[in-house]
């Protein structure tokens, strides 16, 4: 006589309630997933560049040292993006007629730098210094991945704070001997467990409490 709702209303109502609860749990999980996805972080995505420069060819196959182009990596905060002149040291002699290299020659002729699309960015409130990392035994590939295998260069790691802290909390897991710093295919050797702490002591790296202080990076 006095049913306000049809029998089917219960099923709909309960379904709605369960959907609500599922959304309450699911939406944050989805949001967290999106934030961490390569779509947002850009990991593995090679953007178009003014010249299709291949690290694989130059550094991997031809064996040009990182420091030939990134000249300040051992001395300054930034590793340095090479000026067009660095390219022209070779390309004034070889592949001088290549269409692919026309933007390089134009840049040189017009004295206007090439505008590369930047891959690895840190926020302004993060202080980062290449030289201290490289000279204390942190290799290029730890952050930049195996650049020598990249045809077009892409970001190998999302530089989230988690990534930095992982090493700052336990540098002994990542520190290398000086000759290995430029090795792009470096894997921790079998004796890293004994070698790591030794190198940390030798290089005066104060891990743990000191390296995780806020002011180390946020100056």
């Amino acid at each position: 006589m006095a049913q306000l709702f049809t029998p089917g209303a219960d099923a709909i109502y309960r379904l709605a309630l369960m959907t609500g609860v599922a959304c309450l749990v699911g939406l944050p999980v989805l949001a967290a997933g999106i934030v961490r996805s390569n779509y947002v972080t850009g990991v593995g995505v090679a953007p178009a560049q003014p010249v299709p420069f291949s690290h694989k060819h130059h550094s991997g196959e031809l064996g040009i040292d990182c420091r030939y182009c990134h000249t300040t990596v051992e001395k300054e905060a930034t590793a340095g993006i090479p000026p067009t002149h660095t390219c022209m040291t070779c390309h004034s002699q070889i592949w001088t007629g290549s269409d692919m290299l026309k933007p390089v020659r134009d840049s040189y002729a017009q004295d206007k730098p090439l505008e590369w699309t930047r891959l690895n960015k840190l926020p302004q409130y993060v202080y980062y210094n290449h030289s201290v990392h490289v000279t204390k035994g942190i290799g290029c590939s730890t952050c930049h991945g195996d650049v020598t295998s990249m045809q077009m260069t892409y970001r190998a790691n999302a530089f989230e704070m988690k990534f930095c802290l992982d090493c700052h909390r336990a540098p002994e897991k990542y520190v290398r001997t000086p000759d290995q710093v430029w090795n792009m295919t470096w894997k921790p050797p079998a004796d890293q467990a004994t070698l790591g702490p030794k190198l940390v002591a030798q290089n005066h790296i104060r891990g743990g409490a000191r390296l995780t202080e806020c002011g180390i990076c946020h100056r």
Binding site: A2, D10, P28, A158, E160, M161, L165, T212
Partner: protein, 670 residues
């Protein structure tokens, strides 16, 4: 406590169950004083608009618009937050303590107090978010798996506060909703009666009337006043109230230790958390008194909110006024006797400095007005009570401003002593949050019962039994015998209606022996029915294990998380505190435990009662809408083919007229 209260009856002696339901539900269903409501709502909405405007400007320009780009970083924003959460704590505590003490007269006050607690928490909760430089990152305060690999700092009262607010909001919503649930069912049934009347009359508004009934029906979650429902409901209500009382202490500890735990003169005192708590409850009771008086005046609820209720509120205000005066006296006495030069300096600056007006407002409004309530005449005068409540609320706000601003304007560095003046945007933000509060309050008044129907009915049953007996006798005269209506539809069971809980209990006792394995008995009525529990075999059913398990698991889980994060996963030297700073994890763990217990209670309430259940065969019983009004129903549900409807009908009809003979017996199709 209830018995000791003097000053006339708690409820008019001629109030019936039906009359109470009618008086209270008339407000949301017929909107008396519609014009006045719209005028008030326009004012509140205008203030809410001001709030949105201020928030827009705040987002564009940053928190500096409050004039706090100086040492007074906590200006009116945090004073407003402290005040709102104080009002919320006070209101919640009043309602919860009255419930726990079993004060049967609480119905007139508790609904308003619970609603105030809820909407004041909503107003309070916005401040900690909007006072952040980048409010859209407010969730950084909460522990969640983030890409920074960091944990919040569990040793800080700032974090306690974030957990406290979330827990407080959950408890407020929960207490409010549980209390409201049976009243929503009453409202649903009355709205449905109206909807059916309009449908019969083919009124043009019949679709809206039906929709209104259905909306109330969805929110009421299919509550049908079953004896089993009521049993769990009473326990759930009381248990959430207990959790609420504990949480109030925890919340005010978080808010006050944020100040007291610092080394600032005027804050660094063991008395501060106590005076915070006292003034919070004081302001909560004050605002509750103002709003209760307002609703009583506007909607003419003199019958339900009697002078005796006013008297109780007056006494409560007087007690808290004296406690507040004691706190001030103790602070001055202790500081001038023992305090250092800085602390004495702060007290002197409060009285004579740039913000002396604020300080004197605080002290005069908190201490003096309540003293007129020593007079019984003042206590029962609504206007006097409302005036005192308002002054107390103003005084409590001024007290928060005084405590924050006077200390901060002059810290230990002479160079940071920049002048601070209360500025227009700070006031606009507070006025806007008042607008939010008033808007929500007015919406509540328009659409929900402002006085607890259930509690008022329970009070009527105990305080005015004569009129209930008369109603019962009148019903008995109209009683019909068992009706022979053999129906073709499959049988759900047999239903019988009664005019009182006593009759229902007697009838249940009489039929409880019939086939306990294939007959499922239940009682339905408008108030909790403890006397039916024994014949129904429900005695001893308790919600407490669920609440306890939820609270213990939640609390232990949160505490474990704090320990894991701080001592192992995120070792961080801060202020020289040890890795395992166990005392600082207690406050947020308690808050979280209360929230987890509350969630567990809610789940138990729904699952044990098999709710929500919008469509139920019991609603097929003719006249069942009165189960939320003044009738009590017995249902005997068939569980298998052995069910013998005729035998149950014979047994019920054979009962003596004074001890359980039903008014009506019906067979109910599925």
């Amino acid at each position: 406590m209830a018995g000791s209260v003097t000053g006339g009856p708690l409820i008019r002696p001629d109030e019936t169950l039906q009359g109470i339901g009618g008086t209270v539900t008339a407000i949301p269903l017929t909107h008396p004083g519609n014009r006045r409501w719209w005028i008030a709502f326009a004012g509140a909405a205008a203030l809410l608009g001001l709030f949105l405007l201020t928030l827009g400007y705040l987002l564009a320009a940053g928190p500096g618009i409050w004039g706090n780009n100086n040492a007074v970083v906590w200006a009116l924003d945090i004073a407003s937050y402290d005040w709102w959460i104080g009002v919320a704590s006070g209101s919640l505590l009043v309602s919860a303590v009255l419930l726990l003490l079993g004060a049967e007269w609480r119905g007139a006050v508790n609904r308003v107090a619970e609603t105030l607690a809820l909407i004041a928490t909503a107003s309070a909760g916005l401040y900690p978010i909007i006072h952040l430089g980048r409010p859209w990152f407010f969730f950084w305060n909460l522990p969640y798996p983030n890409t920074y690999d960091l944990w919040p700092q569990f040793r800080s009262p700032l974090l306690w506060d974030a957990i406290d607010i979330v827990a407080f909001l959950v408890i407020c919503v929960s207490l409010w909703f549980i209390g409201l649930l049976p009243d929503l069912a009453t409202l649903r049934d009355r709205a449905q009666v109206e909807a059916m009347r309009q449908a019969d009359a083919k009124a043009p508004t019949r679709k809206i009337a039906l929709l209104r009934a259905q909306v109330y029906g969805i929110v009421a979650s299919g509550w049908r006043g079953s004896a089993a429902h009521w049993q769990i409901w009473v326990q759930a209500y009381r248990t959430v109230a207990l959790l609420g009382v504990l949480l109030v202490v925890s919340v005010q500890t978080g808010a006050s230790v944020m100040l007291a735990g610092s080394l600032m003169p005027g804050w660094h005192s063991t008395l501060l958390p106590v005076s915070f708590l006292v003034n919070a409850i004081y302001s909560g009771v004050g605002v509750t008194a103002v709003i209760v008086m307002l609703i009583r005046l506007v909607y003419g609820l003199d019958a339900l909110v009697t002078p005796r209720h006013l008297d109780v509120l007056g006494r409560l205000l007087l007690c808290l006024g004296c406690a507040s005066a004691y706190c001030y006296a103790a602070e001055y006495f202790d500081t001038f006797l023992n305090g250092d030069a800085q602390a004495r300096g702060v007290l002197a600056r409060r009285m004579t400095g740039d913000h002396a007006l604020v300080s004197w407002t605080a002290i005069l409004c908190l201490v003096l007005p309540a003293q007129i309530l020593w007079s019984a005449r003042a206590r029962t005068a609504p206007l006097a009570l409302a005036a005192v409540g308002l002054l107390v609320a103003i005084g409590a706000y001024a007290d928060h401003v005084m405590v924050l601003v006077v200390t901060l304007t002059q810290d230990f560095l002479p160079s940071s002593r920049l002048p601070y003046g209360v500025d227009i945007w700070g006031i606009a933000t507070f006025a806007g949050s008042v607008g939010l509060f008033l808007t929500l309050l007015l919406l509540f008044l328009r659409y929900l019962p402002a006085v607890s129907i259930v509690e008022s009915r329970r009070l009527a049953l105990t305080e005015a039994p004569a009129v209930q007996d008369a109603a019962r006798a009148a019903a008995a005269r109209t009683a019909a015998g068992p009706e022979e209506n053999p129906t073709e539809a499959p049988l759900w069971g047999v239903a019988a209606s009664f005019a009182s809980q006593g009759d229902l209990a007697a009838a249940l006792k009489a039929v409880s022996g019939i086939g306990p394995d294939h007959v499922h008995l239940d009682g339905h009525g408008p108030v909790p029915m403890p006397r039916t529990l024994r014949p129904l075999g429900l005695e001893g059913r308790s919600i407490l294990p669920y609440a306890l398990a939820g609270a213990l698991l939640g609390g232990a889980g949160f505490y474990g998380m704090c320990v894991y994060a701080t001592a192992y996963d995120y070792v961080f030297l801060i202020g020289g505190r040890p890795r395992l700073s166990w005392p600082s994890f207690v406050v947020p763990s308690i808050s979280f435990a209360m929230m987890a217990g509350c969630v567990a209670i809610h789940l138990a309430l729904l699952v044990l009662n098999r709710l929500p259940r919008l469509n139920h065969p019991a609603f097929n019983i003719p006249g069942f809408l009165r189960a939320s009004d003044d009738r009590f129903f017995l249902t005997a549900e068939a569980r298998d083919d052995r069910f013998d409807a005729a035998r149950i009908e014979r047994r019920l009809a054979g009962l003596p007229a004074e001890a359980g003979r039903p008014l009506e017996i019906r067979r109910i199709p599925r």
